[in-house]
């Protein structure tokens, strides 16, 4: 009597086990078939970004993995830079009180009269986007924010993505991990990644 009950339960268990294994394989297969499967990373679309400042505060890394980058071929090399200088600045020099960047991460170097080159020190930049806003409203919009993949740990769900008011973040194929401005952006094909529209 006892052994028959045990046999029956054993049989039931094996049957259930096989059914579960098949179901599991089916679910995994379906999930894999639906996706393209390649690896993806997070990136922000500079055209959507409104420079809310959350890139600096929401990233799980401190300082943020988002940094300002510069498309030099879009830049006007202006002596008075909307991204570098405080508005209504009197003296066009590198004095700290004239700078927009809270951490003085932008280097201003003279190229030739009257052009100045602006480069970002990514070790200092906190990704606040203040310069981006300045450059976008008073300049050519050559400064913009990007997730830097040498720093980003590629969270399963990017903390900034969920906080971004402009829905600027999306997953992009790891093969094309940047959404660049300027000539580089045109030559590098930008494919839709994780979340296709």
């Amino acid at each position: 009597m006892m052994s028959r009950e045990v046999d029956r339960r054993q049989f039931l268990r094996t049957g259930l086990n096989s059914a579960a294994a098949i179901a599991l394989g089916g679910a995994a297969g379906a999930a894999a078939v639906r996706g393209s499967g390649g690896d993806t990373v997070w990136q922000l679309d500079p055209e959507k970004c409104v420079q809310c400042g959350r890139c600096a505060t929401e990233c799980v890394l401190k300082p943020s993995a988002v940094k300002c980058v510069h498309a030099h071929d879009v830049c006007g090399y202006c002596e008075l830079c909307g991204g570098y200088h405080q508005p209504y600045v009197k003296e066009l020099n590198t004095a700290a009180e004239n700078q927009l960047c809270p951490v003085a991460a932008i280097k201003r170097t003279w190229v030739e009269d009257p052009y100045y080159e602006y480069t970002i020190d990514e070790d200092l930049c906190i990704g606040c986007g203040v310069c981006v806003k300045g450059c976008g409203s008073f300049g050519n919009g050559s400064l913009y924010l990007q997730v830097r993949h040498d720093r980003c740990v590629n969270c399963n769900e990017c903390a900034i993505a969920k906080a971004c008011p402009a829905d600027a973040f999306k997953r992009v194929p790891a093969k094309h991990p940047y959404i660049l401005k300027g000539e580089q952006g045109r030559t590098q094909p930008i494919e839709e990644g994780g979340e296709k529209a």
Binding site: L24, R34, G37, N154
Partner: protein
């Protein structure tokens, strides 16, 4: 000087144009042979390493299964666990882990447009497949979340089984909630409220670090509190383990009911022998079963209804719904752009109707998925009830396949195990 004045003039003119990304200033023509630097594009981690992670995961699970089932060695389990804690935890920063991959997989199944990397599918699938064959060997030594709790365990106290059983339902609710949040595209709450990933990254938001510290502190006296009373993946692993083909046994041989292992499990996963109850009259047993099955649709309907209601309220956590509601509030109060979200919406030029329609769509999805999740939770509760009412006789001390994490601690308490060990030594 003249060029400089011209530049400033151009600047003043340009400021009057409100739009971004226009070429207000022409590209300069350099005379000194200056070349423009390009934008550096440091690449992300290579695909190949992602595959390596999957291989290490598969290898570690296989090794763990072999160690607990064949080698029956706690010490080897411990070393493997330490390795996995370092590899998956501190080196790979605990992301993406099988626990969180539940969300990716459910989102991929619900939303065709979501692309899920193969590595994530594998990390969801492998531990469950292993559990179907060998029990929760993934939990024993591979999961970094389990490992970090396991190593802080100092002096386990017993959680009364009634309380443990009630708290043990939390993971079911958590699983249901996280699937609803994932498939509606709201957020991955398992990742957001993962208490230990902050330790792995050596830094994180204060709430995360505090929750993690609290759990680890609790974990010194209560074995693996996250695993037992929170982890949503443990539900699936537990069910798979319940019907596993093989599972660890406390004794390598035959149980002699010496009771030595009774208190050895820090997770309260050892079931004691149950004497057969005084034979119950058949009728009353049958009546109880009939009642139970009559209850089934009631439980399912009620929990489905609750799930739908709760989810409807919860839809506010979705960005679209939140923005839509905030915009309505602003309209009513005659304000504009109180939050960055509403300001961004107002600038985007999307019509009010389109926004409201999008919000309604999200709300509908919440209600449907909420109802399904509710039914799921209800069925899980019912199954627990069913289990209680059809207690079978049990002769030996056995691990509870659902909650046992195959940590291999209890083995050495068994006199038969020790006999085997000394026997082997004498033989060699």
């Amino acid at each position: 000087m003249i060029r400089r004045a011209a530049a400033i003039l151009a600047f003043l003119v340009a400021t009057a144009i409100p739009s971004a990304a226009v070429e207000r200033f022409p590209k300069p023509e350099f005379e000194t042979g200056y070349t423009m630097p390009g934008t550096l594009t440091p690449p992300p981690r290579a695909d190949i390493l992602e595959n390596l992670d999957v291989a290490v995961l598969a290898g570690a699970i296989a090794l763990a299964s072999w160690i607990v089932l064949k080698r029956r060695s706690r010490r080897e389990t411990f070393w493997l666990m330490l390795f996995c804690l370092l590899y998956f935890g501190f080196w790979r920063k605990g992301c993406v882990c099988p626990v969180g991959s539940v969300q990716n997989v459910s989102l991929a199944l619900a939303d065709r447009s979501y692309v899920i990397p193969y590595a994530v599918v594998a990390s969801f699938f492998l531990p469950l497949l292993a559990a179907l064959f060998f029990g929760r060997t993934f939990c024993a030594a591979v999961c970094p979340l389990g490992a970090i709790q396991d190593i802080v365990l100092l002096r386990p106290l017993k959680v009364p089984s009634g309380i443990a059983c009630i708290l043990g339902m939390i993971p079911v609710v958590y699983l249901a909630a996280s699937v609803v949040m994932a498939v509606t595209g709201s957020r991955f709450i398992i990742c957001r409220y993962d208490p230990f990933v902050g330790f792995f990254r050596l830094g994180g938001p204060a709430y995360m670090m505090a929750a993690g510290a609290l759990l680890l502190l609790l974990g010194t006296v209560i074995g693996r509190p996250y695993c037992r009373f929170i982890c949503p993946y443990s539900v699936l692993l537990g069910w798979a383990s319940k019907i596993a083909r093989r599972h660890v046994t406390i004794t390598p041989d035959e149980c002699v009911q010496c009771r030595l292992c009774e208190e050895s499990c820090p997770f309260g996963a050892i079931l004691m022998p149950l004497p057969k109850k005084a034979p119950e009259p058949r009728v009353s047993g049958r009546r109880r079963l009939v009642l139970l099955f009559a209850l089934l649709p009631v439980v399912a309907a009620a929990s489905g209804w609750i799930g739908a209601r709760v989810s409807a309220a919860w839809s506010r956590s979705h960005a679209t719904v939140a923005t839509a509601e905030a915009v309505l509030l602003e309209d009513r109060a005659g304000l504009e752009g109180v939050t960055i979200e509403t300001e961004t919406y107002r600038k985007s030029g999307l019509t009010r109707a389109a926004l409201m329609q999008a919000a309604d769509l999200v709300r509908d999805r919440y209600v449907v998925w909420g109802a399904l999740a509710g039914v799921f939770v209800g069925l899980a509760f019912w199954a627990r009830l069913y289990e209680f009412s059809v207690r079978r006789r049990r002769d030996d001390y056995v691990p509870d396949r659902e909650t046992c994490v195959s940590c291999a601690r209890c083995f050495e308490y068994c006199p038969k195990e020790r006999q085997k060990d000394t026997g082997a030594e004498a033989g060699s």
